[in-house]
Symmetry: C2
DNA sequence: CTTAAAATACGAAGAGCTTCGTACTAAATG
DNA sequence: CATTTAGTACGAAGCTCTTCGTATTTTAAG
């Protein structure tokens, strides 16, 4: 019997299962905070949420959403203390890629180059960033000179 | 009295008003069809919607959404005939840019270069497209050699 | 004229997300 | 021990989006 891990690695469904999840807007904002600050309590997240925005969000609102995220396995939770400590269970890059896939399909019907042109055309990018992107393109062209 | 047009052009609120609208998923799918096929009836849109997807969507569902889009001024409508003909009232590029702005902020906290790197790294891009992007970067670097 | 077919209008149900009030529980303070 | 304080759990309301059923109207066919 090949086993669960073997099966999952083979067809990548393990990654799919976890990283194909699409967090909602509120969930994403909480993830941003946890990605940046590391494991945090509900109160810490709630405060960070409130001082970075104009509108103020109630404590129990943040609590509820984080509880839901825990049930969805977006977060893990240490409840050995009375005050629970939550941590992101998904990686920033993976979630971003999953969201990007969906967005690219929905808004650009999958045309990555069109999106790229809009992106570079509309948004301020520093010379350093442009150079970085250029370097990546060069590398891609080398690897696939077909 | 400067007049409405003058006012709107001055502070760009005319464009904002219209292009800052964020169509929903279903609305976007309908817009895609209208952008591609031009003015169409509800039935045409509904059929196109159904043969390009697995799930089938009821006629009145499509009708309802298009009526709502008409109220939101996302679509215009010619009702001189019994069978109304709808057309997109917003430009594809403008909507895409508006969606991109929001997505960039939500998922990448505004870092266009990070998104670009993900985009080029994760998605198949043809050599032609890469060349096109490269050309744009060169142009940007020329215009801002600071 | 009657009937059938096709279109629009409209109301309402269902689902998911966000928000918060309230109840309950545990800890700290006096 | 009583009281205040801070935390979790939970239910439900409000919102938006999607979906469809039904009623109504208009056109075409018999």
């Amino acid at each position: 019997m090949p086993g669960f891990l073997y099966y999952c690695v083979r067809n990548t469904s393990y990654i799919m299962m976890k990283e194909n999840i699409q967090p909602t807007q509120a969930e994403l904002e909480i993830l941003q905070i946890l990605w940046k600050k590391g494991p945090s309590t509900v109160r810490e997240v709630n405060e960070r949420l409130n001082d970075s925005q104009e509108k103020s969000i109630g404590y129990t609102t943040t609590l509820k959403i984080m509880q839901i995220m825990f049930e969805k396995n977006l977060l893990s939770r240490n409840d050995s203390q009375r005050t629970h400590v939550y941590a992101a269970e998904v990686r920033e890059g993976n979630i971003q890629s999953a969201l990007l896939d969906r967005f690219l399909q929905a808004a650009y019907k999958g045309s990555a180059s069109k999106l790229a042109l809009h992106l570079l055309g509309n948004h301020k990018t520093t010379p350093d960033e442009l150079a970085e992107i250029k370097a990546l393109i060069d590398q891609l062209e080398k690897n696939k000179p077909s």
